[in-house]
């Protein structure tokens, strides 16, 4: 029997499983409310209590909504951040860099984070370019900036691989031309003067003799490259006085082939093989004493594993916060219901069973919890959108919050806990001394 159930469960799609879990969390609350509302006509009295204590009710709902919203936002954001970071690395199949930290190399190459990286020997590029199973070999040269935007030197083929044809203008065709990312403030026709380095330490005068004419704007990629200025690899070398990497006969050329004898070192090379198997073979072949090859996806998966742990901690913290808030709200409810004790005593005096009084107080508390939970989903969605906007601006990775059914299950579990807790003050108020409250 267990095997049949297990087989059935695993035959369901992930979405169906999530929906089933959500339904399971919602069912006890729904059934309990349905039974109580069917047995007793408590709605007018619950309405009266809500109206009478509307200020406190609004505060209670707002507190619950905020705590639920915080949890919902964090979970959706973490998922969105994870997907956005993975999407940003999509076009970087394999990266070859000098031995060191693959995380640093990935952050520098994919996310254009400032890093001090050793340079690869020119022979590495030559070895890669000579392989028949390689579709794309794109050296990257970074370290400079333009008005705070990272300046990256690479090949036109890689720019095309990353962002496709420019949305406006055309690709660069000489070492004096640049294309800009979709999110930069630069316009076609602008003349850019690069600085050596990044940020506060950038030397604005180091490349004073260099300028680039913006000839194209790339399509948005949702990656930090949207904020970059991209120039021919040779332009970076020339700006640093390293020549252009080509034989004398090829002077003025941009893009491969490069002359191994004249080619300066580069910090990283993005490689795309013609098959998955070939990618793995390349990774083995190019991991050695003077080079390392890695899949950014694997590095990200490692980081995401770490994020997964953080997510569990965040989820637990969010749940604890929510339960604490609900406990505070329930305590508030107990005080509030105590303030209506005379009314409840009147109900008992008129002959209402204790169960009826319990039902009124419990449904009243449950309405607050459920309203807070539902509102919290909306608050969480808005907060996640705001947070995503902030993160997108801060990281240049296009983060979109990803709400999931599993998040709703957490809210439903929280609501169940809140509804169960609401029974405590309801039980207390229904058991008070009728006579004493009537005479109060």
């Amino acid at each position: 029997m267990g095997d049949v159930v297990s087989a059935f469960w695993f035959s369901l799609s992930a979405r169906a499983q999530d929906l089933a879990v959500l339904a399971a969390w919602l069912a006890p609350t729904a059934v309990a409310l349905a039974v109580v509302l069917w047995r007793y006509r408590v709605r007018p009295l619950v309405h009266a209590l809500l109206v009478r204590h509307r200020g406190i009710a609004a505060i209670a709902v707002a507190l619950i909504a905020l705590s639920v919203g915080l949890g919902v936002a964090l979970l959706a954001e973490e998922r969105g951040l994870r997907q956005a970071s993975a999407r940003a690395a999509d076009r970087f199949d394999l990266i070859v860099a000098a031995p060191g930290s693959d995380v640093t190399a990935m952050l520098a190459s994919v996310y254009l984070q400032t890093a001090n990286m050793a340079l690869l020997a020119p022979s590495v590029h030559a070895d890669l370019a000579a392989r028949p199973d390689v579709d794309l070999v794109a050296p990257l040269a970074f370290g400079d900036s333009v008005d705070g935007a990272p300046l990256v030197g690479t090949t036109a083929a890689f720019v095309d691989h990353l962002a496709g044809a420019p949305r406006e203008g055309r690709p660069f065709a000489s070492t004096a031309e640049a294309v800009v990312g979709a999110a930069t403030d630069f316009a076609i026709g602008d003349v850019l003067h690069p600085a050596h380095g990044h940020g506060a330490g950038a030397d604005e005068d180091a490349h004073a003799h260099v300028e680039f004419l913006v000839v194209g704007r790339l399509a948005a990629t949702g990656t930090p490259w949207d904020r970059a200025v991209v120039v021919p690899l040779e332009a970076v070398w020339i700006a640093h006085g390293l020549g252009d990497g080509h034989a004398a006969a090829d002077r003025g050329r941009i893009g491969p082939p490069y002359d191994p004898e004249r080619m300066p070192g580069v910090p990283a090379i993005v490689v795309r093989a013609d098959s998955l198997v070939a990618n793995y073979a390349l990774r083995s072949a190019f991991t050695g004493a003077d080079r390392m090859a890695f899949f950014p996806g694997e590095v990200l998966a490692r980081l995401h594993g770490l994020l997964g742990d953080v997510r569990r901690v965040l989820s637990a913290m969010a749940l604890v916060t929510e339960v604490l808030v609900v406990a505070a709200v329930i305590a508030l409810l107990a005080v509030l219901l105590g303030g209506s004790a005379r009314r409840f005593a009147m109900l008992r005096a008129l002959g209402a069973p204790r169960g009826f009084v319990f039902a009124v107080a419990w449904v009243h508390g449950s309405v607050l919890v459920l309203a807070g939970a539902v509102l919290g989903i909306g608050v969480g969605r808005l907060a996640a959108l705001a947070l995503a906007r902030y993160l997108s601006e801060a990281s240049a990775v296009a983060v979109r919050p990803l709400p999931a059914i599993a998040d709703l299950s957490l809210v439903a579990a929280f609501a169940l806990a809140g509804v169960a807790l609401a029974a405590v003050p309801a039980w207390i108020v229904s058991g008070r001394k009728v006579l004493a409250d009537l005479r109060a």
Binding site: H47, A48, V51, M346, G351, L435
Partner: protein
């Protein structure tokens, strides 16, 4: 029931309603000793036999007249609830109130509110109505209207009305007046209500 403050009128009324668990002695309803019943049976006794009117109305102020008057149906089964709601509507009309008035009763005058309370007490068709100083919060004209309506409705339905009151007009409308002093029935009432016994 008449008598000075502290004479025990309200205590006796609450004992009759099976609400004062501390009361000594017995309150008999037929063969049953009401005060000896369990809490659940006492609640059932009130539900089925007793209508209550309080001095300060004790209405749900945020609800309308009909919702308040039909309140005793809220914890009853469907058939009894339907009958209670029908009676509540009829009673409100007979008491000069509009059952469909959407206003919450907090906007009603004191007299109107007490009439809603009377409709609520009678909506479940109780055998006995216990009223604790029902006219105390009303002006003379409103009190007179209420007394007339209360007596007419209760007597008209062949039910019993037990009232705690200092109101001579209400005492004059009663078949029997019991004066209380220091928790005991006496022949004279210090408040000046004419204590009489009629058949």
């Amino acid at each position: 029931m008449a008598g000075p403050s502290g004479a025990g009128k309200s205590t006796l009324l609450l004992a009759l309603a099976a609400l004062d668990e501390r009361a000594c002695g017995t309150v008999r309803w037929g063969e049953d000793d009401v005060l000896a019943m369990s809490a659940a049976r006492r609640a059932a006794f009130r539900r089925e036999r007793v209508g209550l009117v309080f001095q300060d109305f004790l209405l749900f102020e945020e609800l309308g007249a009909f919702a308040n008057a039909a309140l005793p149906g809220a914890w009853l089964g469907t058939a009894k609830r339907t009958a209670t709601r029908r009676r509540a509507r009829e009673l409100l009309v007979r008491l000069g109130l509009d059952p469909d008035d959407p206003r919450p009763v907090e906007r009603f005058s004191g007299g109107e509110r007490q009439r809603v309370a009377v409709a609520r007490a009678l909506a479940s068709d109780p055998a006995i109505v216990l009223a604790d100083e029902p006219t105390a919060s009303l002006d003379r004209a409103a009190a007179d209207r209420l007394v007339a309506a209360l007596v007419e409705l209760v007597a008209g339905a062949g039910r019993t009305l037990v009232v705690v009151s200092h109101d001579p007009a209400l005492a004059a409308a009663a078949d029997r007046v019991v004066a209380l002093a220091d928790g005991r029935a006496t022949d004279t009432d210090a408040t000046g209500v004419d204590v009489t016994r009629r058949a």
